[in-house]
């Protein structure tokens, strides 16, 4: 049993979830409520990771984060280090890979809010930002929790994009899905089986929770 890779997996999933909750909320708000030129193009770009093969996404991330890529060069100039084969590198990849799973449920939750509540908030003197914090967020709790769970689960299951960007550095970038793959490659089915078994109850329990949250919001509770 490779506990270290399980630890890296959970650390990555938590980091991705926290970062995405912060990043995705304003994006989802913009997609739900604002009109701006190129909105449909931007929305399609946000959802692109769902449609792309993870290895293709990983390939472009290697190009961007590599020593000749714009992001890699900027990062190198700032810190003197590299993003590839680091935890930060796979965290960035994981965030980009999971962004649709955060934005979509949040946008759906924001759209469920009665627009008259927002009109009332503006008449009562609240700016757009204040209305977002005081009205939109508290009334979208189930959507935000669902987004957090989906991102967490999706990050746990990530494989292709992570192996492309991070490789398999034990304790740094080697996550459980990669450890399972390597165990199978090494014909160590016992380790692969034990690690795989860890995923099922966690993923199943969280999905039940998402269903429960969706059911709750449908019944207006």
């Amino acid at each position: 049993m490779d506990y270290l890779s399980l630890y890296v997996t959970l650390k990555l999933a938590m980091a991705t979830t926290v970062i995405l909750l912060i990043i995705a909320a304003p994006i989802a708000y913009a997609l739900a409520y604002l009109r701006f030129p190129g909105k449909s193009l931007f929305e399609a770009l946000i959802y692109l990771p769902i449609a792309l093969p993870p290895t293709v996404m990983g390939f472009y991330l290697i190009l961007a984060m590599g020593p000749k890529g714009a992001v890699g060069r900027a990062w190198g100039a700032l810190t003197g280090g590299s993003l590839l084969f680091t935890f930060l590198g796979i965290a960035v990849a994981s965030v980009l890979y999971s962004i649709p799973f955060a934005v979509q449920p949040m946008k759906a939750a924001f759209l469920k809010i009665d627009p008259r509540l927002l009109e009332n908030a503006s008449v009562l003197g609240l700016s757009r930002l204040a209305a977002f914090v005081r009205v939109v967020l508290p009334n979208s709790a189930s959507g935000i929790i669902a987004a957090a769970i989906l991102v967490f689960l999706h990050s746990i299951g990530a494989f292709g994009v992570l192996i492309m960007v991070g490789g398999s550095v034990p304790g740094v970038t080697k996550v459980a899905s990669i450890a399972v793959y390597e165990a199978v490659e090494a014909m160590d089915y016992r380790t692969a089986g034990l690690m795989s078994l860890c995923f099922i109850p966690i993923s199943y329990a969280f999905l039940l929770l998402v269903n429960r949250l969706n059911g709750d919001s449908k019944h207006g509770a």
Binding site: R116, N120, S122, V123, L124, G125, S127, P138, N139
Partner: protein
């Protein structure tokens, strides 16, 4: 004159072309058939909808002027607006709803008391009746110490007895208000009971004859008169 408005707006079925004014402490009731532009007018006053052209001036302050491209956003107009539908914030209890934009939070308990819902202060909106929600919406609007109060058919979704009680409450409170109140209704009885002035609006324009036409019996000639005299004939038709 506290409020002066002269606006034009092209709508789907007709063009609005309105002029009105209202003094402090007066209640102007906008009456007319549904879909005649009353709510659109109230929304323009609140800043939630824009006229195509015209001016809205309140107490010497220009809120909207199409020629000078002035449009004061709703946040800065400081008005109280009670919507036709329930717009209390569902995640807050009645006290916190009323205190949402209160100038002085200490006044909120008094307002809830005044409207007879102090005992429900800790309840969420979905746990109280429609009438209690609209009472709370009035508290919410008044706690902001508005410069003008806009009431868009606030009691229309309520039962007759609750509506009558709230009308009487509003009429008794009106004397204490030193700001203009605009009240939208299509109920002539309500308008006559509450109003200092009544402005009938039909298809986006002032139609001073509308009330008279609506409450005057049908002429004693022609088909309606025949039908009244001869009920069996009316049924046959």
């Amino acid at each position: 004159m506290a409020l002066k408005l002269k606006i034009k707006k092209r709508l789907h079925y007709f063009d609005m072309d309105l002029f009105l004014s209202c003094d402090d402490g007066r209640m102007l009731v906008l009456i007319g058939p549904s879909g005649g532009g009353k709510t659109t007018l109230i929304r323009m006053l609140a800043g939630l909808s824009l006229p195509d052209e015209g001016r809205i001036v309140f107490g010497g302050e220009t809120w909207f002027d199409s020629s000078r491209k002035i449009n004061v956003p709703p946040q800065r107009r400081r008005i109280g607006y009670v919507f036709q539908e329930y717009t209390l914030f569902p995640h807050l209890n009645l006290h916190d709803n009323a205190a949402f934009a209160a100038v002085d939070k200490k006044e909120v308990a008094d307002l809830l008391e005044l409207f007879g819902i102090a005992h429900l202060a800790g309840r969420k909106p979905h746990l109280v009746s429609g009438g209690e929600r609209q009472r709370c919406a009035l508290c919410q609007a008044l706690a902001r110490r508005p410069r003008m109060l806009l009431l868009d058919e606030p009691f229309s979704a309520l039962d007759v007895i609750t509506r009558r009680g709230l009308r009487e409450k509003l009429k008794s409170l009106k004397r204490k208000f030193d700001f203009p109140i605009l009240y939208v209704t299509h109920d002539i009885g309500e308008a006559l009971f509450l109003a200092d002035e009544i402005l009938p609006i039909v298809d986006g324009r002032i139609d001073r004859g509308w009330m008279q036409r609506t409450i005057t019996p049908e002429p004693a000639t022609g088909y309606p008169a025949r039908a009244t005299r001869e009920p069996r004939l009316a049924l046959a038709y």
